[in-house]
Symmetry: C2
Subunit: 230 residues, 2 copies
Amino acid sequence: MNIILASTSTLFGGEYLAYLKTEIIDLYQGIDEIIFIPFARPGGISHEEYTQKASDFFATIGIKVRGLHEFDDQAAAINSAKGFFTGGGNTFLLVKTLHEKGLMQVLKSNVESGKAYLGCSAGSNIGGLNMKTTNDMPIVYPTSFECMGLVPFNLNPHYLDPDPTLKHNGETRETRIKEFLTQNNIKVVGLREGNWIRRKGDQITVEGTQLTRIFEPGKAPYELPEGSLL
Amino acid sequence: MNIILASTSTLFGGEYLAYLKTEIIDLYQGIDEIIFIPFARPGGISHEEYTQKASDFFATIGIKVRGLHEFDDQAAAINSAKGFFTGGGNTFLLVKTLHEKGLMQVLKSNVESGKAYLGCSAGSNIGGLNMKTTNDMPIVYPTSFECMGLVPFNLNPHYLDPDPTLKHNGETRETRIKEFLTQNNIKVVGLREGNWIRRKGDQITVEGTQLTRIFEPGKAPYELPEGSLL
């Protein structure tokens, strides 16, 4: 497999995908066209506008982008594609849409066959075993929480450390993930913004300048530096 | 109906339920025993310990508490109860448990018949039409997101204003609720901590010292002061 699962598309104050540019060039070596999956976007911008945004970035590295929504037969489009990028938004909406269209398994098979895959945020969540560690609001009801399992664990994108100054009694991100571990025997990778997971063949590493926080059942959470194997 | 749906059980630096004490005395007038529903709690403390925590508070106002988990026939226990309190935790776990045990409708019927109901956080979410505006992590998959509909809208407990100093690209609470409105034609009441909804018969008001933020499809969000009708 050849994939990047990134915490976020955009760093604070940065341009869309700019911090990942070198990595993205490496990911899509030899590919001149990819399919963009815009289904996570619940409003604000249309699928066309969202695809245009991705297209604007990929034009700078000589890659053409087509939105999956443009195709009548979307499964066939995935089967014919050279590579994929799934943008962020709401994970519930993305997972519901992919399951309802019967595309989750089609996409999984294509990525497992070696086609390049980039996900950001919600697009990274669907690379995990299931979507039970998303931060998103359950604005729609998917027929299942199961995802592609491109990596043998779950992700928590936009992982955020507790703010000790906050006078608020909502659960912290760490508390939520520990709650997940009481109900599921699955490792969770807390990806801080600016970090990503890189899978090349069977080798899976964490990348990015921040430490990555790992949660496993029955262990204290721990941190891994960039380049560590997962 | 006679209900309180509170944003949180505990204010920052305060004791469990302390800020609601006067309201709780009013809610349960003439009642000497209630059933506590502990099913939202995913870990850390057991159902017994959680029930004991509720019981310790209610002892100060002369009300005995029994945990619903203590009963073999939980539907019968709900039908025989004089009043209810559902504690906070994880809304997905609470909703999954109530649906699987067939108790959501039983509880709804009993509360609609006039029995006193107090919810905090997750226990308040289930008073709304559905749980699609919870902040919680989807750590388990419920058979449905539908809730009791004790009020004709949804709630967002622990509602939090955006932090302008945060260099983080995760969605704000307001963005998440606006995403919900793109997919659902349902009003959302953003309950800041310290606020609650009070229903007496057909009259539904917002209470508490902070303003309450209301989100409706096709309208700009707006704020309501305490005592306003919903």
